[in-house]
């Protein structure tokens, strides 16, 4: 490994690429060579630097200087000052509390990075950097010092629970697959992260793919599998590319292949892509997809541990579950079990999205409260608005209102409160959110993604969606709420898989905590949050309007009339309630009633 005194990481996220980050990278390389520094300063591209709204951006290590909004003509000066003369150009630094969104910031004191420890810090396309961070030491240890039963016991002792959402004890699952009888066994990684708002797995696959690869090889050794698959959704092309590179490098180093580390254990690993089906995150649907079939779940038993891919014993775990394994081996199961709550051990990554100031990825020990996550780490609600609810667990999760802010986050507590852990998506909602619209919204997603195989889900969610749509359009009827509650119960009990069983959750939880909003929609034909288009009107306040004509000029349907310097008027029959007039008005003269 060549030793450089400085590394420049240039962000290659789609947002930065669009702003010309690769041209910046080329210019940096040119200037570095021009100054004769090419053996001292390395220029790399990497995902996950973070300030996506302010690209192109670079990180300079070891100093940790974060430059944002760079332009091509900045580069010669920057190289000369920072790298030749040792004088960082502070005027181009990211501000201390960056505006806009970052995917992965410097961790706050409440965070503990296990799964995310290398993301943004190492070059994910260079296996040597992973090795330098104790990479593949766990595998070496396991292959030389432990037998499969011992490995399974370590994982059991750690208390690790499946991070995909179901929270099944990972060690126990490995035990089942180990004990199952089969001439061929498989390990599969579920990288079909489809929960809206969840991008934790993507960060790990793009930023630290070897942690997943190493975890899978260890799992394969423990259960006796010789072949593995990483099933990654096609919406993550960079993750797919990065993982393929990692696998190739691991093969070149003999970490995947025949007789690994000189042991009798051989293992091969492949990547398979999804094709845009949320339901393929369900393990039996995922298996069907790898087999070249429609992603339709099937009843269990038999569980994949006994009869899975191609009918053979298969261990399926989430990206994050595998990514925890090397650290659990190296630092010991007691270290892992020392974090978290009684039944939920270790840390969990979450993706904060929605109306919170600091959206992005966090990793925290279980037991932290929602309040700490939203306000301490997340920086509170955007634009000074009021907190209304948080949706945890993705589209099959529940919405938790203010009274649950001090809930410690763990599997059992979230389920008791009427939500679920899910894969870790957390969507924060402010007081401008209509909870009926949100329920309808999640149900639309579920309806779209329902595989169609079983009637309760296929037909039941459609009927619920029809009712909710009517309610949001001002056509709610007396009896609708009771009908919804009935449907929720039936669908939950009778659906074939987790998607169907969880589909009613958003409706159930919003009915439980925000019933008054439903009633307002149905009986008063009102949307208290002023969101549902059929129930609101855009009006111009004559006291505030100065007649600047900005709204009229921007209205896409020409619904606004008025002369210059005279109060403008919106025609409610033409108005499509798009909200552009309110956005462009500089005088806050547009009211929503």
């Amino acid at each position: 490994m060549a030793y450089f005194r400085s590394h420049i990481l240039v962000c290659n996220d789609p947002e930065c690429l669009e702003k010309g980050s690769m041209e910046i990278l080329d210019l940096l390389k040119k200037e570095i060579t021009k100054q004769g520094l090419e053996d001292e300063v390395q220029v790399l591209d990497t995902p996950r630097i973070g300030a996506c709204a302010q690209g192109p951006e670079i990180m300079v290590y070891p100093e940790g200087h974060h430059y944002i909004q760079l332009e091509k003509n900045n580069i010669p000066f920057l190289v000369e000052e920072q790298f030749l003369k040792g004088r960082p150009v502070t005027k181009w630094f990211a501000p201390e509390i960056p505006e806009g969104a970052q995917e992965l910031r410097e961790p706050t004191t409440k965070e503990v990075r296990v799964v995310l420890r290398n993301c943004g810090k190492i070059d994910p396309e260079n296996i040597e950097e992973y090795i330098a961070e104790d990479g593949y030491q766990a595998l070496a240890q396991v292959l030389t010092d432990s037998n499969p039963d011992e490995v399974i016991q370590i994982v059991k002792d750690s208390g690790l629970r499946g991070r995909g959402g179901a929270g099944f004890p990972t060690g126990v699952k490995w035990g089942f697959t180990h004990d199952a009888i089969g001439d061929q066994k498989y390990v599969v990684c579920n990288a079909d992260e489809g929960d809206p708002g969840a991008f934790m797995n993507r960060a790990v696959l793009e930023g630290d793919p070897h942690s997943v690869v190493e975890g899978m090889i260890i799992a394969a050794y423990a259960i006796g599998a010789s072949q593995g698959y990483i099933y990654c959704r096609a919406e993550y092309p960079i993750a797919v590319k990065t993982v393929k590179i990692a696998i190739n490098q691991a093969k070149n180093y003999g970490l995947i292949g025949e007789k690994i580390f000189g042991s009798e254990f051989s293992f091969d690993l492949e990547v398979r892509q999804g094709a845009g089906a949320f339901v393929c995150g369900e393990e039996t649907a995922l298996i069907a997809s790898i087999e070249g079939r429609r992603g339709e779940p099937r009843p269990r038993p038999p569980f994949p541990a006994v009869s899975g891919l191609f009918g053979k014993p298969t261990n399926i775990n989430n990206v994050e579950s595998y990514a925890n394994i090397p650290q659990i081996i190296l630092r010991g199961p007691e270290w892992f079990a020392g974090m978290g709550t009684e039944k939920s051990k270790g840390t969990k990554t979450f993706a904060l999205a929605g109306d919170v100031n600091k959206t992005g990825l966090i990793e925290v020990p279980f037991g932290i409260t929602l309040r700490e996550i939203i306000f301490d780490i997340g920086g509170g609600i955007k634009n000074g608005r009021k907190y209304k609810a948080i949706q945890t667990g993705g589209p099959m999760g529940g919405c938790l209102p203010e009274q649950y802010l001090d809930l410690p986050v763990d599997y059992e507590k979230l389920t008791e409160a009427g939500s679920i852990m899910g894969s870790g998506g957390m969507v924060v909602m402010d007081d401008e959110t209509c909870m009926v619209d949100i329920a309808r919204f999640f149900l639309e997603f579920i309806q779209d993604e329902s595989c169609g195989k079983c009637v309760p889900c296929r037909v039941g969610t459609k009927r619920m969606l029809e009712i909710l749509t009517r309610i949001c359009n001002g056509e709610g009827k007396d009896g609708d709420i009771e009908l919804l509650e009935n449907l929720c119960m039936e669908i939950r009990e009778d659906s074939l898989c987790g998607l169907g069983k969880g589909a009613p959750n958003p409706v159930v939880s919003t009915l439980r905590f925000f019933r008054d909003e439903y009633e307002a929609h149905i009986y008063n034909k009102e949307c208290p949050a002023k969101v549902c288009r059929a129930l609101i009107n855009y009006e111009i306040d004559p006291e505030k309007c100065v007649g600047c004509t900005l709204c009229a000029r921007n209205c896409p349907v020409e619904a606004i009339s008025g002369e210059r310097k005279e109060t403008h008027v919106i025609d409610p029959d033409i108005c499509i309630r798009c909200g552009i007039c309110k956005q462009v008005c500089n005088y806050e003269a547009v009211l929503v009633t």
């Binding site: 996220d13 789609p14 947002e15 669009e18 996506c52 709204a53 969104a101 995917e103 992260e193 489809g194 929960d195 809206p196 708002g197 969840a198 991008f199 959704r233 096609a234 919406e235 993550y236 398979r272 892509q273 999804g274 094709a275 845009g276 089906a277 949320f278 997809s289 790898i290 087999e291 070249g292 079939r293 429609r294 992603g295 191609f310 993706a351 999205a353 929605g354 109306d355 959206t359 990825l361 969507v427 909602m429 959110t433 949100i438 919204f441 639309e444 997603f445 779209d448 993604e449 595989c451 969101v531 921007n554 896409p556 499509i576 309630r577 798009c578 909200g579 552009i580 956005q583 462009v584």
Partner: protein
């Protein structure tokens, strides 16, 4: 996405290329269909028929798989495909307004193609870049932190 009309022989050549890349086995069906979809912009019936004979599986099976997955198109798309993320984080971050503006600007609803074959507009589920919500993709380009005002400018970039 290409919209040039190809004759059946060229379509079959594309199908063969995809099958040969992944081997003619049933479990390779999805990668094969993905390659065809990438090369042609959609999966024509004549291609499905050819894959059926090469993989020795019923054409109904191929059709059922091709019609199941959102990323496969079974009809020809416009020159450019707009995928607007319709998931919750985008929705609560102003995605609703952007969606309405897109609909107005394009003059079509999701699932439709404009009469001049320039745009196909679809909604997609979460793309996983929620930190910059709301998000849309035009072909392979991702646009984040969208506001309604940006829409006409973004659309104007494409021929």
């Amino acid at each position: 996405m290409s919209v040039e009309v190809k004759n059946d022989r060229d379509l079959i050549k594309t199908a063969d290329k995809a099958v040969d890349m992944y081997h003619a086995k049933k479990e390779e069906l999805i990668p094969i269909l993905m390659k065809v979809n990438q090369d042609l912009g959609y999966i024509p019936k004549v291609v499905m028929a050819h894959i059926s004979s090469r993989l020795n599986i019923p054409q109904s099976h191929i059709n059922s798989v091709a019609s199941f997955y959102h990323m496969f198109f079974t009809k020809q798309t416009g020159r450019h495909v707009i995928k607007m993320c319709e998931s919750a984080p985008c929705h609560v971050s102003g995605g609703r307004e952007v969606f309405n503006t897109l609909k107005e600007n394009l003059g079509i609803s999701p699932g439709e193609t404009t009469k001049d074959d320039k745009w196909t507009f679809i909604t997609t589920s979460c793309l996983g870049v929620c930190a910059v919500a709301p998000v849309m993709m035009v072909d392979e380009d991702i646009y984040g932190n969208l506001t309604p005002e940006q829409i006409p400018d973004i659309l104007a970039k494409y021929e």
